[in-house]
Symmetry: C2
Subunit: 254 residues, 2 copies
């Protein structure tokens, strides 16, 4: 079972879109996939037609009783694709758990019992650094960092990588991350310059291609379908398929 996390503490950069579109491609290829919504705003849960304000079972349940992981998983309506939903109650975890020891491994332990059921698990992280993010970093083997190709987003990326390095120093196991340039608009100088400076600053951890701007992503979220299932031949979907091929090539070496 491969566990990938999608994170960036900056909001609105394409985390949910990345998780949902990659999962759609994997599901179409016949892989069994579990999506985990770790964001108290629950936008991935909403994406698939559920209401994070009114769900009584969710990822929050896992923090009360880790054995109940199988009870909280719900269907998405797409073959091979299941969802562990978020609820707004997740927002209270940081205040409740604060510095309690051992609460950083709840997700990792919860997913262990699903080893035989899902080939891929993709975690959609919240846009902030707290107990949920610590859980995601502890559980995953590969971290994907969507970053908009624009000047302001680069500053946040450097800070995010410094913070992750700090959290990771406390862990011992091997960890890879991939920076995914997204919302690339080849018509604007701002996008081209931002991509050029990313390529100067990073090495192989930066994916060598980009996710272009594609208005069909919004359409997909309106109808609640991954774009990779709705319009597999769209620019956005094809770009994520190329990213998936790179990730699968790497996954075998872990």
């Amino acid at each position: 079972m491969h566990i990938w996390a999608v994170a960036n503490q900056k909001g609105g950069v394409g985390k949910t879109t990345t998780a949902v579109t990659l999962a759609g491609h994997l599901a179409r290829r016949g892989k069994t996939v579990l999506l985990v919504d770790m964001d108290p705003h629950g936008s991935m849960t909403t994406y698939f037609g559920h209401d994070p304000d009114s769900l009584d079972q969710s990822l929050y349940t896992l923090f009360q009783d880790v054995e109940r992981v199988m009870d909280v998983i719900i269907p998405t309506g797409f073959e091979n694709l299941s969802l562990l939903p978020a609820s707004t109650a997740l927002a209270t975890l940081d205040r409740q758990l604060g510095t309690q020891e051992g609460k950083g491994l709840v997700l990792k332990n919860g997913l262990r019992s699903l080893e035989a059921r899902y080939e891929y698990v993709i975690l959609d992280c919240p846009p902030l650094l707290g107990i949920l993010m610590v859980n995601a970093l502890a559980a995953c083997e590969h971290l994907l960092l969507p970053v908009q190709t624009e000047f302001l987003a680069l500053k946040g990326l450097e800070r995010m990588l410094r913070t992750i390095a700090m959290i990771l120093n406390a862990r011992k196991h091997h960890f890879i991350y991939t920076i995914v340039p997204t919302m690339f608009d080849r018509r604007t100088r701002a996008s081209l310059e931002a991509l050029r400076s990313m390529r100067e600053q990073f090495g192989t951890e930066l994916w060598d291609s980009v996710i272009p701007i594609d208005t069909q992503f919004r359409e997909a979220s309106r109808v609640g379908k991954p774009l990779s299932i709705m319009v597999p031949s769209s620019r956005g979907s094809r770009a994520y398929e190329a990213l998936l091929d790179r990730l699968l090539g790497q996954a075998d070496n872990v």
Copy 2:
């Protein structure tokens, strides 16, 4: 002195863009304007060429000593436009201050001494609900809520309004808010449907026009200029000018 706050706990929806573009228009009209960056990520501070990681004086200083407000204000390089910058130290305020009484009025008291210097103050709020947001709500007379015209963003808006109503119940004075539909893309059904459902759900608190998608906003942030100063005739700048005319029409009635 009119104090406007721009907020939405969802990230990447155009808060900084709204604050900077409106401020640019006011400055061009000869009004004296102070921009306040309340976001620990400091994207507005970065926008004007300063580094929130290395500034020793910032909004954070005000929470240590409210008298020092004049020492922390810096120029932006544009006539009539000054900046009270953010620093990353702001991120520690919630943990430090927690439930300490009276820390919700620091900004309101700090700005009071600037009454004669600035005609308009625009607050760029962080993408979360904490002590900084409480300060912004306590200080402002008008709250602007940029909301992307897409399905997922609407869900977050309802939740945000519920939370604001809760915070406001504890206050007594008059308060107005305006919902600003932004990143509107007239080519996609998703945008049209989202706008239609906003218009069904809200009354006069929803601005009757939209801010369109305009790639020049990215260009503006790359060069560190408000779009309203860089290209006043652009689609994005003209839309914010129309919003400003509505806000000024209302401001006189407060």
